[in-house]
């Protein structure tokens, strides 16, 4: 039995009508034997356009519709709703894309019109065999997980926890705080970074809805939006935080001296250590890579002096399983390594620092208690050269992108240096100054006018050690002169890159990364906090270089998106999913192997579909040699009919 299909052809202003004779398409399709009604309209997606569809369904007793318009990614939902309003099942509505796939890519009106007719006709054939379907409903696990506890992760966790939902916050380092806790002062207001972040960190540690897992990494994940099952490996710290009284006796006896990660190698630490005084959780961590005590015959000095007996060399990694409904990924950034910068000494000169090291040097709680000193001889540097875009905006050798924050933090560094060493001289080499942001431009101007920082427009070609100083060869393109400066210290504004192992995590979570390794958002403009995988959201510098206010804003956005899932008891999934035909299935399992969503499994020698996991991609259907599995409403039979319609006449 043929259906009574309605065909609605949209002009989209001149987007379609400019290249396609829409009236002709509507007329031709009107003659199709399955089509009971056809018409065209200037903007089908407008309210009058939708009403026109709804009314036509009622008036002509249509049981299915085809709308010839733009891509289904844009208005499929609109017209499904219009169909529903007309009283027919929403899956009896199909889109024929005659804009992106026809009018926009062709010039010849006559041929484009024929193509538009064929595209529409094939959609009519498809809708003819469409079943009426109902969305699949499934319950939601109403708790969330945040991966990464820098400022973005902390903000997202607090936002969600404050609305009453439980949050699991996972951090791979021994303490939360991320890179922000390493900073000295923040632009453009110069407030102390630790002072504004540590209250949030304390809130996290005391929050009844936040379960904090530090020194932990996500190992495995399964499930789908609303119901993820995450396996987390909690690495052993070898110290029981409940027993530890923070007496600090252990670090006094530990014989190991190694470089401190928190101070980026500017200070040393013992093998047993607390990352920094405000660390949360406030406890010691025994670094098993440097500790000799974990060898079969042990050093054991720290355990000997530990009165409460908090040190346990036999502590093993723990696997923790968590069920969550939504995940926010805030894995942050690392600096592009100085070792990569051959032209700037490959990291071999101690007085050539990167931005974060200089932050530690300026920090009141840093290695020098805020005094700016050269790492090599601990003397006050009198001339400091700051080099912007070190590794950024250099597609030939380094990173092609702009790291966004370096203009601002270099201005801040130069300013802080001048505040610490008023008789010193600060030079900044820059390509452009990008100070877009509230109060940012004024901040840069303040560095120039009030603090006398010398800005030189040009790149530095080489730096090398010369007579105990760092000789900088650069150019001032505004004056047209070569510049040679014998500096006491050089600070490289290293590019931001995604944090180490973010790519591995992305692979694990099945979210995509962009060409630079940052996490890919679902849409660059309209869905900037969502990943392409439903239920996973992005926050902070893991998605792209950004400063603190932007990271915080995105974190709150991601939290709001995650809450939209958690606040519902049930979620709905498209019913256009794979369906197996058990009589034809031989249980060969080829479809199970190719399914990218792990939605298929074999049970009693037959394939079974987990409808909630299935995204209806059709890979299984294309792989099956016996047509024993097909996607609802796009079955092999429908596809043959569509091909027929496209090729015929």
């Amino acid at each position: 039995m043929k259906k009574r299909t309605g065909v609605f052809v949209c002009h989209c202003g001149i987007n379609i009508a400019g290249t396609v004779d829409v009236k002709k398409v509507a007329d031709k399709l009107g003659k199709h034997k399955a089509v009971a009604h056809s018409e065209d309209y200037v903007y089908m997606c407008s309210d009058p356009g939708q009403n026109l569809i709804t009314n036509a369904i009622k008036e002509h007793k249509l049981d299915s519709i085809v709308v010839s318009c733009c891509s289904p990614t844009l208005h499929e939902k609109t017209f499904q709703n219009a169909a529903k309003a007309g009283g027919i099942n929403e899956f009896q509505s199909e889109i024929a894309n005659i804009r992106e796939q026809c009018s926009w890519v062709h010039k010849d009106k006559e041929k484009a019109t024929i193509k538009a007719e064929k595209i529409t006709r094939s959609a009519v054939e498809r809708v003819n065999k469409n079943e009426s379907l109902e969305p699949i409903s499934f319950p939601v696990t109403r708790r969330a997980m945040v991966i990464g506890a820098g400022i973005a992760g902390i903000q997202a966790a607090l936002d969600m926890a404050n609305t009453g939902y439980e949050v699991v916050l996972v951090e791979k380092n021994p303490s939360i705080g991320g890179h922000m806790i390493q900073l000295s002062e923040t632009f453009p207001t110069l407030d102390c970074s630790q002072c504004i972040l540590s209250p949030k960190m304390v809130e996290v540690s005391k929050h009844e809805n936040i379960k904090l897992l530090t020194y932990s990494e996500v190992q495995e994940i399964s499930g789908y939006v609303g119901n993820f099952n995450v396996k987390i490996k909690k690495n052993p710290t070898f110290v029981d935080p409940d027993k530890c009284t923070l007496c600090d006796e252990c670090t006094k006896v530990c014989p190991v001296l190694t470089s401190d990660e928190f101070d980026l190698g500017l200070t040393g630490r013992r093998a047993i250590y607390m990352p920094f005084p405000q660390a949360i959780p406030a406890t010691y961590t025994l670094d098993d890579k440097h500790c000799p005590g974990l060898l079969p015959i042990a050093c054991g000095k720290c355990a000997d002096v530990c009165d409460p007996g908090a040190i346990d060399y036999d502590m093993k990694p723990e696997i923790i399983e968590e069920e969550v409904g939504a995940i926010v990924i805030a894995t942050g950034f690392d600096l592009y390594e100085k070792e990569e910068m051959g032209e700037y000494g490959s990291g071999k000169y101690p007085d050539v620092l990167d931005g974060l090291q200089f932050e530690r040097l300026c920090s009141a709680s840093g290695p020098t208690q805020g005094e700016v000193l050269r790492p090599s001889d601990h003397k006050v540097p009198k001339e400091v050269v700051f080099i912007q875009c070190s590794g950024s905006r250099d597609p030939e050798q380094h990173c092609a992108y702009c790291s966004k924050i370096c203009c601002m933090y270099t201005a801040k560094h130069a300013m802080l240096y001048k505040h610490h060493v008023p008789d010193g001289q600060a030079y900044i080499f820059y390509i452009d100054i990008r100070s877009g942001g509230k109060g940012y431009e004024e901040f840069v101007q303040r560095a120039v006018e009030e603090d006398g920082v010398v800005y030189l427009r040009g790149k530095v070609s080489k730096i090398f050690e010369y007579n105990g100083k760092i000789r900088v060869w650069g150019v001032d393109t505004l004056a047209g002169k070569d510049i040679e400066i014998d500096a006491d210290m050089v600070v490289l504004a290293q590019a931001m890159r995604p944090s180490k192992d973010a790519d591995k995590l992305a692979k694990l979570l099945k979210i995509s990364i962009d060409k630079d390794g940052f996490l890919q958002e679902a849409h660059p403009k309209l869905r900037p906090v969502e990943s392409v995988t439903a239920g996973m959201f992005l926050a902070g510098a893991a998605q792209a270089p950004k400063d603190i206010p932007e990271a915080v804003a995105q974190a709150s956005g991601a939290a709001a998106k995650a809450l939209a899932i958690l606040s519902q008891e049930n979620l709905f999934h498209s019913p256009q999913v794979a369906k197996s035909i058990p009589n034809l299935c031989t249980g060969c399992g080829m479809c199970v192997d190719v399914c990218p969503y792990d939605a298929l499994s074999l049970k009693n020698g037959k394939v079974e579909v987990n409808e909630v996991l299935c995204e209806g991609c059709g890979t299984c259907s294309a792989t099956c040699l016996r047509a024993a599995i097909e996607v609802k409403n796009i079955t092999p039979y429908q596809i043959y009919e569509m091909i027929n319609a496209s090729l015929g006449g």
């Binding site: 014989p255 200070t267 040393g268 630490r269 005084p277 042990a298 790492p375």
Partner: protein, 91 residues
């Protein structure tokens, strides 16, 4: 480069009583930083005792002293005033 702060590497001295050594090489095997190596020379008992190959690497953990079955090697620590460990100096 010298680290900022007061945290210093431990100082000490390694003493080898060559004539007590029976050449088991436990100390060489278990030294976490490969400070020791067996020598070519003979002691009074006719064994090869270890010698200090690279004292700069030594962190004076005294592991060699702990495991030597013959009490032939021991470490003395030089008492250096280590005022203000990193974590204290910052508080």
């Amino acid at each position: 480069m010298v680290y900022f702060g007061n945290l210093k590497a431990k100082k000490g001295e390694i003493h080898i009583n060559k004539d007590r050594c029976k050449g088991c090489a436990f100390c060489v095997e278990y030294c976490p930083h490969d400070v020791l190596e067996m020598s070519e020379e003979f002691n009074v008992k006719g064994y090869h005792p270890p010698y200090i190959k690279d004292e700069d690497k030594c962190m004076y953990c005294q592991l060699c002293e702990t495991i030597c079955p013959e009490f032939a090697i021991f470490v003395t620590l030089k008492d250096e005033e280590e005022e203000g460990e990193k974590s204290q100096s910052r508080s």
